[in-house]
Symmetry: C2
Subunit: 378 residues, 2 copies
């Protein structure tokens, strides 16, 4: 194990994490180190200390509170596996506790971060320590600032600072996906659509042009619109085009001369950001103004590559498309196909009662282990 010039000085760190106990116990240990976004120093120190103690086969680079740990086995293929260390704010839901799900009778670990996404990090960290001779080279990445504004992302920062460390043929992000593969992600775009009118006193409304009334036709079009379902690399991406905010009006006795609404377009990864913007402009061609206010392209799943096909086989369940935007698109932007694969129900992410089934932690780890040990890199 070595450290490059970005490492923190090699001070003695208390090894509070023991990856050799396996991913379930490691989930408890990781969750019980609070790490709300912006406060990831302690958990990053603990992960670094665990690697120092238990993973001499990895080359570790630290950038702020992001860690990159690589095998350097000279394999033909390299897989990047990443997870974020931060959580949304704690709300009386730490330390974690074990409980049994009322409905299913399944053992669960309950508490902040169990789903999003320390169980995923635990699976990764346990395998990082365990898999000394994987069949592909591995780049393990644990990073800070995922749950906040995109420009704070530790993953984005480390990719800019150390582009060479992130080269890979395929990437897996450990975001919760119920232990199935959720491939790629839709892109997301927000646009402000404005319609003008002409002000008049409402007692003589025929002297004006009502901008709110003009918006009716645009909203009706949205309401009637059937978003597309687009198959990309074998997965079906369901799009969405929705008004998310609307605002208009001057006073209770004035015909309004301005009304605008914001739409959120979730678009399949087969479209580029520019194509998505054109699509929205075209959709509202009769509005007076369409202004793109936010745009993040999606990510192709890349599941048609042989490497990915064998991963799918190891997981043993049909992969699904990921609809929400995730950091897989940062890999996609580097030309690396990427999927989401982690324990936990994504619908429980950020919920105060988030909880992960113990069995999903184990099955996720087993599938990854199977693939990484036995894939024949071609």
């Amino acid at each position: 194990m070595s450290s490059d010039s970005n490492s923190t000085p090699p001070i003695a760190l208390d090894p509070v994490l023991d990856p050799t106990l396996g991913p379930v116990e490691l989930t408890r240990q990781l969750c019980n180190i609070p790490s709300v976004s912006g406060d990831e120093r302690e958990i990053a120190d603990a992960v670094e200390a665990a690697l120092r103690s238990h993973a001499p086969h990895l080359t570790v680079t630290r950038d702020g509170d992001t860690l990159v740990a690589r095998t350097e086995l000279g394999r033909e293929r390299r897989v990047a596996i990443a997870g974020h260390l931060d959580t949304v704010p704690i709300n009386d839901n730490l330390p974690v506790r074990d409980e049994v799900d009322d409905a299913s009778g399944e053992p669960m670990i309950w508490g902040r971060g169990t789903v999003d996404m320390k169980a995923g990090v635990a699976v990764q960290l346990a395998l990082a320590v365990e898999l000394v001779e994987p069949s592909v080279d591995l780049t393990w990445i644990w990073y800070d600032h995922e749950e906040v504004a995109s420009d704070l992302s530790g993953l984005g920062r480390a990719m800019r600072n150390h582009p060479g460390l992130f080269e890979a043929d395929f990437a897996i992000l450990g975001e919760p996906s119920n232990g199935t593969i959720e491939g790629g992600c839709n892109g997301t775009l927000r646009a402000r659509v404005s319609v003008h009118g002409k002000r008049a006193h409402s007692a003589r409304s025929w002297m004006g042009v009502n901008a709110i009334h003009r918006v009716g036709a645009l909203l009706e079009r949205l309401s009637a619109f059937e978003p597309e379902r687009i198959v990309v690399d074998g997965l079906e991406y369901r799009e969405g085009l929705n008004a998310v905010r609307i605002n208009g009006g001057v006073a209770g006795n004035v015909i309004p001369d301005e009304c605008s609404f914001e739409v959120n377009y979730r678009f399949a990864p087969s479209r580029s950001g520019a194509e998505a913007a054109d699509y929205v402009r075209e959709f509202f061609a009769d509005a007076d103004r369409v202004e793109i206010v936010d745009l993040a392209p999606g990510a192709r799943p890349g599941l048609d590559a042989p490497l990915a096909q064998r991963f799918v086989a190891a997981v043993g369940e049909a992969p699904n498309a990921k609809f929400g935007w995730t950091d897989v698109s940062r890999f996609s932007a580097l030309g690396i196909p990427a999927v989401n694969f982690g324990p936990g129900d994504p619908l429980l992410a950020h919920a105060d009662d988030e909880r992960v089934p113990v069995a999903q932690i184990e099955s996720t780890a087993a599938a990854l282990r199977e693939w990484l040990m036995h894939d024949i890199s071609r």
Copy 2:
């Protein structure tokens, strides 16, 4: 002239107004006494002093800064003629000045209050002093607090305090109407229309119901709607039904579960307030909630009565319907048909360059004099 118990004590008031100089000079004098709403004491004192000096044939009652001056001739019919003494705030437009209109070459009086509505008050006050033996009994009313919230109205207050003083067969409000008769007024109603949906993450929009999209159909209906034109007592009232405000949305990535808009319905005086409310509720029957937030009924013009017909003949121009809501509806609520009739262009009311044609002051006074002196009361 007498004063009842509501009068101010008979202190010596400086007679700064001289109604015997005629309505044009009196317009200048009235305008040059500033009387922004809430500050009408000085102008009410001046009007009272002028009546005291020049109109011993009138019985005067004062209520706050409202004056009611009545003939008591025992005529078969009584006409109430009213005007407000207050103005909107002054904006470097006092004292008044004489000028010639660029376009028409007409002599004008320029300044705050000339249009809304001291020229009208001047016509009334000059005739109140001049017409000692009118053919109908007259109730002259000058009142405070018209340009502010309806519940502050001096006319409303005096009507509540002295209902007997306001009995009449017909009423004229001196609001600017370009020297033509504008009969009655439309009512006005505001309602909040709300539509519900179901929240969902916008990445999985099909899990939710978009309340903003649902509003589209209601706005389209408004947009396509042709408001009615309703003839009441010979005048055509043009209605209006307009969205004046709209609001909805939760966040940029959430399918909104609530959207509401406010509509303003201007309705013909043939409809009661309750009928207007039913009309709006019916129009939006498929909304989740329709809440009436404001309601003021209109006023019938009553121009089919013989008394009114002779007034129309004296003015010599075809009357029009009044679309905006005015205090004529306070008379209407007492069962007294009422019209607007005064000098000045209503489109210049409240404008910083409000100005009234001198000829309109004179023609308005002449028509009123002609009718009030020669109407044969039946």
